[in-house]
Point group: C2
Chain length 461, copies 2
Amino acid sequence: MNIDELTIEEIAQEISSLYKQKKYYDIKQLIVEINPADIATLFDEFSFDQKLLLFRLLPKEEAAETFVELDYDEQEAMIRAFSDTELKEVIDELYLDDTVDIIEEMPATIVKRILQNTDTQTRASINTLLKYPEDSAGSIMTPEFVDLKRDNTVEDAFKRIRRTGVDKETIYTCYVTDESRHLIGVTTVKELLLHDYDDKIEEFMETNTISVNTHDDKETAVILFDKYNFLALPVVDMENRLVGIITVDDAMDVLQEESTEDIHKMNAIMPNEKPYLKMGIVETWKSRIMWLLFLMVSATFTSMILNSFEDKLSAMIVLTSFIPMLTGTSGNSGGQASAVIIRALSLNEISFKDIFKVVWKEIRVGFLCGITLAAVNFVKIWFVDRALLGMSEITIWVDLVISLTLVIEIMFAKVVGCVFPILAKKIKLDPAVISSPFITTVMDALSLLIYFWLATAILKI
Amino acid sequence: MNIDELTIEEIAQEISSLYKQKKYYDIKQLIVEINPADIATLFDEFSFDQKLLLFRLLPKEEAAETFVELDYDEQEAMIRAFSDTELKEVIDELYLDDTVDIIEEMPATIVKRILQNTDTQTRASINTLLKYPEDSAGSIMTPEFVDLKRDNTVEDAFKRIRRTGVDKETIYTCYVTDESRHLIGVTTVKELLLHDYDDKIEEFMETNTISVNTHDDKETAVILFDKYNFLALPVVDMENRLVGIITVDDAMDVLQEESTEDIHKMNAIMPNEKPYLKMGIVETWKSRIMWLLFLMVSATFTSMILNSFEDKLSAMIVLTSFIPMLTGTSGNSGGQASAVIIRALSLNEISFKDIFKVVWKEIRVGFLCGITLAAVNFVKIWFVDRALLGMSEITIWVDLVISLTLVIEIMFAKVVGCVFPILAKKIKLDPAVISSPFITTVMDALSLLIYFWLATAILKI
């Protein structure tokens, strides 16, 4: 049987049938072939007792790799079921940064048990890592890296990697430090392989090193990965001593999380790290209700504006028909600008100093979009709404008011959409809080004011 | 002078002053220390002739690495200024996948010159790579990887890596193939380093390999990186022969591009790969106008609905005041659901088979959000809009109509928001085309219908 060609469901069925026949040895043979990330998915198909049995059939290393892939709830339940020996075995196999991630999510009793089952040195490292602020580079780094000395030869380096490399998350980037652990150079296994055995590291190491500080934002670190195509990035402390590295797989996870967070925030949702299907109803409600409430209450302004123009609207009720189109278009225009700007800020493509360049660009784009839409709208209203749909109240002046409103509101929307996120970032707020719904709410009020002002001026109502 | 501590602007000033003194050797000493990604940024500060001079001062390898980081426009201008020898030198140093990326963006005359300056074998590889469809795994792979045979020893492997590795984009993952180039196993330099020199590869290679097909979507490939934490992923052709690999840095780029694309599409913008500041006004206008036009014209439906209820609105003009709040809230609610679902689909967290689970969840979340907002709104309208703002037309029944509309429209919005993206994906459309503005437009019409239907039924107007 070639497990490559089976789906997770098929493997689960196979295991279930082996399980019923108590053929545990066969199950073991089957699951050791499977990638830990897939075993974790497979686990969803089994009861907790079955999971535990499957887990215990795995060799130590695979067991630890599978453990990391489980949800925190499952990890907690597993740890509760583990004996101390089992727990110690799993923890010993984990990379330190993964242990810390798990500890951060566990209740105090479990944390205590984990710490009791680690040796003194590991416990000290864990405690240091736990102190870094959430979202800092320190919080996602691992202190396990290959460090070399400048006068090591290539042969020394390989000896060291062979001896200590098995426990390191990556061995491919090696860091050269001086006596006080300052980072003085970087080299790679590729470089080592391409040099002679008796060449000294200092002869070819890269000395212009790029690093982040433990307290830098993790986003700062991830942007460096994207820019320089690193496999690992060194992290230094306040005294500039090398204390850890961030690996590319963790950087990729951060990248995905940050994009998800941005997308959620841009749509007025409070970020939550859990996958969609794992979030409860109340949790989902919580993540959505605050912004909905805020935006709903903010709409009181639009109600007030409409109310204060009530007389004019009664005088010419046809004006009402175009309100959703006008507010919708300005919201869409502003939302486009804010989405583009928020993303460009995330990718470090623009910064505060570009604000005038950006505004000037958006004014021109807004003008182009405005006149295009106004022209189409002018013709459409005249021939469709008036002639075809028979809205007899529409005069050429009404048509003009609506079309002119489009041009002006779109230019405003583009400027509001681009300025707000840049200013938010300037005052250290996340630009993504300037969500499209927020822009829409602001533009609703602004568009109505423009509309009624033009209607009053041109139609003399 | 320690260039680590200088900003790009300071280095640019330093170079400018050295340039004026014609101290080219000093400039060279300075720029060889800088990372190619930063040299590319630095280039923005100089005129084209100065750029060309700086470029010519760089050693071959750094020159090629810098070249890759430039915009396509700059690359084109540079190539036009290069002699054939210079062009050949740069192309020789580039990784094949980068050469192909550049060729795809260049006009025919430049492509011809590039191909004339490559050897026969490279030209053949380039032509093969150019044939893969855009957005396919084949289009982002490189054919340069380390391949081993199953009976190679660790020593053989290292010899081969030392001999051929310098030109490979990564050497850390090695692929074991049989005589007909089928992929039969994978190993890593880490494994090689941890085994004895005379161990055979087949004894410890991983045989349960995970690969993609050249014609698979590049997103499929990138999701595998995210799931399995690979440094490289093998790509096989229709006959299952290994033809290339995708490296993690390219996967990360794809990830960023796809997120940007999703964010743009979700906000009714047609995707464009250029960074914000590099896009011209007309290009920006083009990327935004189509959706704005479509959505504006779609709003004709809301105008029609409003127009057909004109008599009822004139009878009770206060109902108009709450239209933007009601349509805004339903749009926001639907936008939240669609954003969450589109992202979950991108991350492969949910698929079509989950549709009923998702709908049932959104109905319940919608109900919770609906009654919360309705309760707040009921009280707010009564005490703020009626009492404080003096909208005397508001009766308890009007308040009830508005609040009931909220509950019903929000439940509809949540369902529409989650079902549309899942159905889009089912019919092979990009779910992100179901943008928030699109959901908003649909919900505008639907909300008005619910509002007027309830108003007619309850207020007997």
